[in-house]
């Protein structure tokens, strides 16, 4: 396990690939979501296959999550973006990177690309949106509900019965994060990028949605806001596309990296993997 100290905070970082030891076809930084998420969501899904395709994969646990440090405060969006920016300087100082963001991870990716457009080659945003006043209101509601629900034993028992012990354990761990930090207050109080700032994200963006997710309705708005944004919809999926349909997300990611100039190697080189999944 690798740790990297940024100031007083210790970050759990994982780097995979390229699997063949050759020069990277591309560098991808994978950003996970809030509360129940960690780099594990990528480590066991996209990361090994990307590494096998010759991609250098960088993953880290965001502040408060997984095995990274959990300060009692400091959870506004801009702090997460500071972390991403500084980790980029440390881990990939000399090369632009592709960002893959799941849910809140994509929100961090959009904010980082607005701040440092020259560092980012492209964004693949899975079930994600840039921060906006509407986003802050929505997150406030979700986090308040989670704060109450995840501290409530009957709710946790219901989760265990309906979704299994592992999900219940993740919920319990998210409850500890909310109870032990100011995250639920901080996220809605984040400094929000303006629409003018977001319009400066000139890199290509692929927005991936589940057809059954509420977020899918924002696809047209995001496409009109960003200079170069395309949407794709995964049938039958809700918010957890990455976890529920990892093969589809992998195929989309490989095709997207290739489209933007990455010369992939291994089994992904000719697109066989994508075709076999259709």
């Amino acid at each position: 396990m690798a740790f990297l100290d940024l100031g007083a905070l210790r970050f759990h970082v994982q780097r995979l690939g390229p699997a063949d030891g050759g020069p990277p076809a591309a560098t991808a930084v994978l950003l996970h979501g809030l509360l129940t998420d960690s780099l594990a969501s990528y480590y066991f899904t996209l990361a090994p296959a990307l590494a096998a395709a010759g991609v250098e994969v960088l993953m880290y646990d965001q502040r408060g999550h997984g095995r990274s440090g959990r300060p009692p405060g400091g959870y506004r969006l801009e702090r997460f973006v500071d972390d991403a920016e500084e980790l980029l300087e440390r881990l990939a100082p000399d090369r632009p990177v592709h960002l893959v963001g799941n849910s809140f991870g994509g929100t961090v990716a959009f904010a980082l690309a607005a701040r440092r457009p020259e560092r980012i080659t492209g964004i693949l945003a899975i079930e994600s949106e840039p921060a906006s006043p509407a986003w802050a209101v929505k997150l406030d509601g979700i986090l308040r509900q989670a704060e109450t629900g995840l501290a409530d034993e009957p709710t946790l028992a219901w989760v265990a019965a309906r979704r299994g012990a592992h999900t219940a354990r993740l919920a319990r761990s998210a409850g500890r994060l909310l109870a032990g930090t100011t995250l639920a207050r901080d996220i809605p109080a984040s400094r929000l990028p303006t629409e003018a700032q977001l319009r400066r994200i000139g890199c290509p963006v692929l927005a991936v949605y589940g057809t059954e997710s509420d977020l899918a309705a924002q696809a047209a708005w995001l496409e009109s806001l960003l200079p170069d944004c395309r949407s794709t919809f995964v049938p039958g999926q809700e918010h957890s596309v990455l976890i529920e349909a990892p093969d589809t997300v992998l195929a989309l990611t490989l095709a997207w990296l290739r489209e933007h100039g990455a010369e992939l190697r291994g089994p992904a080189a000719r697109g066989d993997l994508e075709r076999s999944l259709r």
């Binding site: 396990m1 594990a40 480590y43 090994p48 997984g66 592992h166 993740l170 990892p246």
Partner: protein
């Protein structure tokens, strides 16, 4: 998978010294993995004798997915590049990973070490 000794010697016990010549038995691998799990689950603790071949990582031992990432690091430190836990798990469905037993990992490690020993 043969759960007992395959080397034809005396039955393996926890006290059996690891040998560099022969690949370790499943029993020895189980003992080593139990030791690694104790390190991974440090803050929650692990009951004596809880790590059996049938124990499931998530359901029975209480590992979260991020704990499996940590375990992957320890496995690689112990047995090197021969064990690529992430790649092995990436080939599985999520339900399969959640229901994964210690025994399946032990069998996988034994298989990889034997293959590596022959090459």
């Amino acid at each position: 998978m043969n759960g007992s000794t395959e080397t034809g010697g005396t039955p393996a016990t926890d006290q059996a010294p690891p040998t560099d010549q022969a690949p370790p038995t499943e029993h020895q691998i189980l003992a080593e993995i139990a030791g690694l799990l104790a390190v991974v689950l440090d803050e929650y603790g692990l009951d004596e004798g809880e790590v059996t071949m049938d124990a499931r990582f998530a359901e029975d031992l209480g590992l979260e997915s991020i704990d499996l990432v940590t375990l992957a690091g320890h496995l690689q430190e112990r047995w090197g590049e021969r064990i690529n836990f992430a790649e092995w798990l990436a080939g599985m469905e999520l339900d399969e990973i959640i229901g994964l037993t210690v025994g399946r990992l032990v069998a996988h490690v034994a298989d990889r070490l034997q293959t590596a020993g022959r090459s």
